[in-house]
C-alpha cells in the first residue's frame, strides 16, 4: 500500500516535473538578454540629457572640464536681456497658441468621438493629423511662402498661427483618448433624465473630459515651446523665440551659457510632459467606471 502511494507520488512528482520542463519554453515573456539591451537603450536615451544638465553646473568656462559646482551661468543667462526677451516671446506665443489649439482640439475631439459617422470622416482625420506626418522643414517653408504670398507680416501673430496649426493634433489626442475611455454612457444616462444637450455638455461631458483637456493643453504648450525649425523660418527680427535664439548661440560655439539655458529648457519640457502624463493617466476609479459603461466604437 505504501509502495502504491509512493509510486503515485513518484508519478505525480514526475508529471509535475515534466510539466515544469514543458512549461519553461512556454514562458514567452521570459527573454534573456532583452532586459540588459533595453537598459542600454535607456542609457543611450538619457545619458546625453544628464550630461548636459550636469555640465550646466560646471564652474569652468571650458565646458567639458569639471572644476566645481556653480550657478553662475544660470545667473548670467537670467541677466541677458536678449534671452529674457526671447523667453517672453516664447511664452507669449506658447500661451496664445495653446489657447487657440486647445479650443479647436476640444471641438474636434468631441466631433470625432461623439459625432458619429459622417461622409468624409476619414479624410477629416487624415487632415487633422497631417501636421504629425509632414516633415517640419516642409511645414516651415510652406508657411513662410504662404505668409509672404498673402503679405501677412505681423511678427508674433504669424508665429501664433503657425504654432496653433501644429499644436492641434497634440492637444487633441489626449482629449480624444479621455473621451474614448469614458464612453458615452454618462451622457446617455443624462439624456435619459431629460438633460438638455447644452446642460449635459456643461455638467457631464466637460467636467469628465477636463483631465484630457489639461493634458492636451500642457502638451500643446510644450510642443510650441520646443519648436525650432518652423519658428526659425517664420519669425522676424523682433519675434525671435527662445529656441531660435539658442540656436544662434550654438552656431557660435559651445559655451556654458548655452548649456545653462538648454538645461533650463530641457527640465521645463520634461517636467511639463510628466505632469501631462500623470494627469491623463486614467485613475483606477475612472477605468473601473469606464469598464461598466458601453464603449463607443473607436475607429481611429
Amino acid at each position: 500500500m505504501s509502495a502504491a502511494t509512493n509510486a503515485s507520488h513518484a508519478i505525480h512528482a514526475k508529471s509535475a516535473e515534466a510539466k515544469r520542463r514543458r512549461r519553461r519554453p512556454f514562458d514567452w515573456r521570459h527573454n534573456p538578454g532583452f532586459g540588459p539591451f533595453t537598459l542600454l537603450v535607456m542609457l543611450f536615451l538619457y545619458t546625453p540629457l544628464v550630461v548636459l544638465v550636469i555640465f550646466a553646473f560646471n564652474a569652468n568656462r571650458l565646458v567639458t572640464i569639471w572644476s566645481g559646482f556653480s550657478f553662475k551661468w544660470f545667473v548670467s543667462v537670467a541677466n541677458n536681456g536678449d534671452i529674457r526677451h526671447a523667453a517672453y516671446i516664447s511664452v507669449l506665443v506658447g500661451v496664445l497658441a495653446t489657447i487657440c489649439s486647445t479650443a479647436i482640439a476640444i471641438a474636434a475631439a468631441l466631433g470625432f468621438e461623439r459625432g458619429g459617422w459622417f461622409r468624409g470622416r476619414g479624410s477629416a482625420i487624415g487632415l487633422v493629423t497631417m501636421p504629425l506626418v509632414v516633415p517640419e522643414i516642409v511645414t516651415a517653408i510652406t508657411t513662410l511662402i504662404f505668409f509672404s504670398a498673402i503679405g501677412f507680416h505681423s511678427g508674433v501673430l504669424n508665429l501664433v498661427i503657425a504654432h496653433t496649426v501644429f499644436c492641434i493634433p497634440f492637444a487633441m489626442l489626449p482629449i480624444q483618448a479621455r473621451l474614448n475611455t469614458l464612453g458615452a454612457g454618462y451622457e446617455e444616462a443624462a439624456r435619459d433624465l431629460y438633460g438638455s444637450e447644452w446642460r449635459i455638455f456643461l455638467r457631464i461631458t466637460l467636467p469628465l473630459m477636463s483631465p484630457g483637456i489639461m493634458a492636451g493643453a500642457i502638451l500643446a504648450f510644450v510642443t510650441s515651446l520646443d519648436d525650432f525649425l518652423i519658428s526659425f523660418m517664420v519669425s522676424s527680427a523682433g519675434s525671435t523665440t527662445l529656441p531660435v535664439y539658442v540656436y544662434g548661440m550654438m552656431r557660435l560655439g559651445v559655451t556654458p551659457e548655452v548649456n545653462a539655458i538648454s538645461a533650463v529648457l530641457l527640465v521645463i519640457s520634461a517636467a511639463l510632459a510628466l505632469v501631462a502624463f500623470i494627469i491623463s493617466r486614467p485613475s483606477e476609479a475612472a477605468t473601473a467606471a469606464a469598464a461598466g459603461t458601453p464603449q463607443t466604437a473607436a475607429t481611429l
Partner: protein
Amino acid sequence: MRFRTTGFLLLPAVAVIFIFMAIPMLISLTYSFLTANTYGGVTGPLSVGAYIQLLYDQDFDGSLVFMPDYIWIILRSVYLAVFTTILSLAVGFPVAWYIVCQSANRRKVLLTLVTLPFWINTLIRTYCWILILRDEGLINNFLKWTGLITHPLPLLYNQGAILLGLVYTFLPFMVLPIYATLERLDPRLIEAAYDLYANRVQLFRRVVWPLTKPGVAAGTVLVFAPALGAFLQPDLLGGGKQLLIGSLIEMQFTSSRNWPFGAALATLVTLAVVAALVWQNRRGKSVEAQA
C-alpha cells in the same frame, strides 16, 4: 437652436489646418514652377527651371551642363533616412517586445521613459551630442585621460554623427507603434505556436512578425519621413559639410534666396512622404485581410 454633438465640431480644426497647411503646400507647389527673384520671393513667368536645376547647371554661355551634385545630396539624404529607419527598427523592436513582456506597472514606467525624450526640444537633444562627441568632448577627454589616444578622434562632423543624432531623435517613433501592435497581440497565438513545436525563431518569423507588420510599417513611416527632411542633426552634428536635403531647402530661403528651387525640393520631400504613407496603408490593409 439646439446644441448637438456632431461631426460639424470638426469644422474649426479642419478649416484651420486646411487654410494654414494644405493651401500653403499648394501655393508652394505653384512657387516651384515660378522664377526666382533676386531679393527672395518669386516672379513670373511659369517655368520648370527649378526642377531642371536639380539635374543641370547653366554654363556661362547659357547651355545646360549635367551636374549630379544635387542628386548626390538627395541620395545621401535618402540613404541616411533608410539607415536611420533600419537601425531604429533593429533597436526599437526588442525594446518594444521587452516592454510588452513586463508587468502593467513596469510597462507604464518604461513607456513613459521611452516617450519622455520626444517632448524635449530636438535642438537641445542634438546639442547634447556635441558635448559628448566634439574634440574636447566627454569621450575624447576620457580616452585622452586613460592615455589610449593623444590626438582627439574625429567623432563629430561626419555622417556617423548625423546617423547617431537621427536614430537618437526618432527612436521613440519606432518603439511606440510597434509596442501598440504587440500589446494587442493575442498571447494564445504564441502559446498555440509553441504547442505546435515552433522554436523562438520560427515563432518570431511566422507568428509575431506578420502580426506586428502594421506597427512596423507605421513606425517606419514615422521615422523615415522626419529623418528625410531633418535639418538640425546634419546642421549641428554634420557641421554643415554634409549637406542634406533639409539643409539644402533651408539654404534656398536664407542664404541662396532661390525660393522656387527650395519649393521644388520641398515638393520632392512631400511626394516621398506621400509614397511612404501609401505604402504603409497597403501594408496595414494586406495584413488585416490575412488576419
